[in-house]
Amino acid sequence: MSETNTKESTATSVLSADTTKTLRDEPRGRTGWSRILLGRDAIMIYALIATIVVAMISVPRFASPVTTGFLLLDVIPVLLIAMPMTLIIITGEIDLSVASIAGLTSASIGVLWQAGFDIGLVLVLGVVIGLVAGAFNGFLVAVIGLPSLAVTIGTLALFRGLALVVIGDNAVANFPPELTGFFTSKLGATGIPTVMIGVVIIVLAFGVVLHFTPFGRGLYALGYSPEAARFVGIHVARSKFWLYVASGGVSALAGIFWTLRYSSARSDNASGLELAVIAAVLLGGVSIFGGKGSIPGVVAGVLLIGTINYALRLGRVSDVVLIIVTGTLLIASVITPSIADAIRRRRHDQRLRRSLPQA
């Protein structure tokens, strides 16, 4: 430590400008690395890698280039919607209407396309419908201040109902072949779907917003303590409102992807997807109580669930078992940290009891 430190005997002198020199002494050790390598995100990534390795060894036909393509196409809707969902859950709220928004978008673009609109316009309108639906959620939750669980359970039913009103029991399948072809196309010989480029851009955008912008910093504070967040000038209502709008927009994109991948616009597209998304987000380390979580962890969580599902399906495991596995994983991911904590505490107590003088 430098000599300037000796001056810091009182708060008064510390405030004088000349002590800024001591800043260079600030320890910036390697502790950061071990934290990253042993952190929650890292453990999720290890689990993902281990799962992939085990699947490659034990599941026949898993280790093939086709796998990458199908696996990714399968997880894209969940991965997309998981992005805004992560931010919303970090602020301590939830959005259960995402899959219904995707369904409403799917139904709407089907009807609009059949009515003879230009396909470009149809897709733009699809996104606009998602944004409006999200804004409706945002208005009720952020502006009016209603509980998000109740609001989005309501809009889950409402938007799905609207989808049914829009398209009825019909399915629209005659989308332009070059467009549906694009949505299932691969990047050269890699087996990676071309649309992954767009997905990666969206994931990166959410990652940057959450981890590197003032807005993202505000979301964590908001999730832990809305009151304290207001005192530092965070616009609580405004932030939440825009998150719901983003959630609606991204859900619409997922709906468009779903429609064009399967070349089928139906009112029940993507139904039940909200639970898969929330399970993946929680598995990825986001706290349902708000304030905690990261985009890398969530991406690993989504891919982990996707890989396990795909591998089990390849291994001819029935869908019922798949659901059981996903549910079990989710519960395990939630209780593991608390069990680890309890073990650590017990060990410490035992060590302490031994070190105490025996009376």
Binding site: V14, L23, G218, A221, G233
Partner: protein
Amino acid sequence: MRDDTPGLESPPPPVLSLSGAVKTFGPVVALADGTVEIRPGEIHALVGENGAGKSTLVKILAGLYHPDAGEFEVEGRPVSFRTVADSKAVGISVIYQEPTLFPDLTVAENIFIGRQPRGRLGLISRNEMRAQADRLFERLGVPIDPDRIAEGLSIADQQIIEIAKAISLDAKVLIMDEPTAALSGVEVDRLFAVARNLRDRGAGILFISHRFDEIFALTDRITVMRDGRYIATHDTAAVSAPEIVREMVGRDIAQLFPKEPAEIGEVVLEVAGLTRAGVFADIDFEVRAGEIVALAGLVGAGRTEVARAVFGIDAYDRGSVRLLGAQVRARNPQAAIDAGMGFVPEDRRKQGLVMDLSVTRNVSLTLRNTLARFGLINGARERREAAEWSQRLQVKTGSPDYAVSTLSGGNQQKVVLAKWLATEPKFLIVDEPTRGIDVGTKSEVHRLLSDLAGRGIAILMISSELPEVLGMADRVLVMHEGRITARLDRADATPEAVMHAATASMEHSA
């Protein structure tokens, strides 16, 4: 004074005695030697700086913590608590600073919850419950309607209800953990009357407080703790405040309230005609550069509400707030911050800090917009700024990455100050800046405020501690029921003048 002279009559055996209690959390030793002995019919003060282990000791007595070692006896019998219920069963009751009653139940229901008096057919007898509650309040000499819903009761009344509950449980030992921190002068007097009443009926009372005037006015003996250890127990009549302070801090504290004269400059904050219907009305005042203006008054007089409106947390109906001549937008804290305001709120755990975030993240919360370049936060600069300000304020923490919840109260308050000073404000509101923090840190905070004023920052200080108001303020504004009832210069600000304006506005306006 009570007769405690040894030799004449040996003191009664203690109703509760804890000796050599140890409690650790991970590597942290919260309590190394927790020792206290409470006799029946005495009020016993427990004093120590924050982090001295008082709260841990109380939690052991309450059955919330199980000590790792030590001896614990109640009425001469060794006890070991697993739960709070065990502690209650042997007659120990704890009254917390801010009690948590069930807001939707009535006062009587709160007192008898889980053990309501039964009538015929085993149903709850409301009449019997009400009668018993009335008898309790009569004994305490405090009129509270047992049928009133608990919601909206003052903290002082809630404490009285907790005390009533304790008595109805035949509590032999009553522990009061900083009960007066949120009370006004009259309410403190009433609480003391209740405590003396209980003592005279033979209860042992453990009283935890940072306020020396209260300790010397109320208690019979004082136990001092420091750094998790028992230091000494004295008869209150036989010691002086400076002696106790010396034992608490292990050093002499020169002076508690050292506001130094600063050059008073231009008007920084100008509040005119600020009104919010039913809360405060026609608030006019200004704060100049280098000046500390104190807003004094009883709890509930509207002081914090005025500060919140000025800072844009709450709306106001009429009036204006100007900073350096420019109008500040209403109801927009970010606009207030951009204009150069800072606000150290009264409740640092709920409003001042995000307890689960790290020290760094807390300090950088106010800076998050200025730290960003092209919309992205510069992480290295963030850590540097946070380290700089926590170092300047001497925040004691193992690592800037630790959650602020792991810090002591005094250090938490320094983090709150750090995050606002880092914005280099021109005007700073400090609401109860030293509530619940220890003597050593308290004088550090006072020195700091004085120093900030010396650098030309205009400061509005809200405080319920009269010595703090009188020692620190250049001018004192006294509020009563939403209005400013007195404006006193430093020279005229006597305790009598302030208390008079705070309690009896009618006579004073003449």
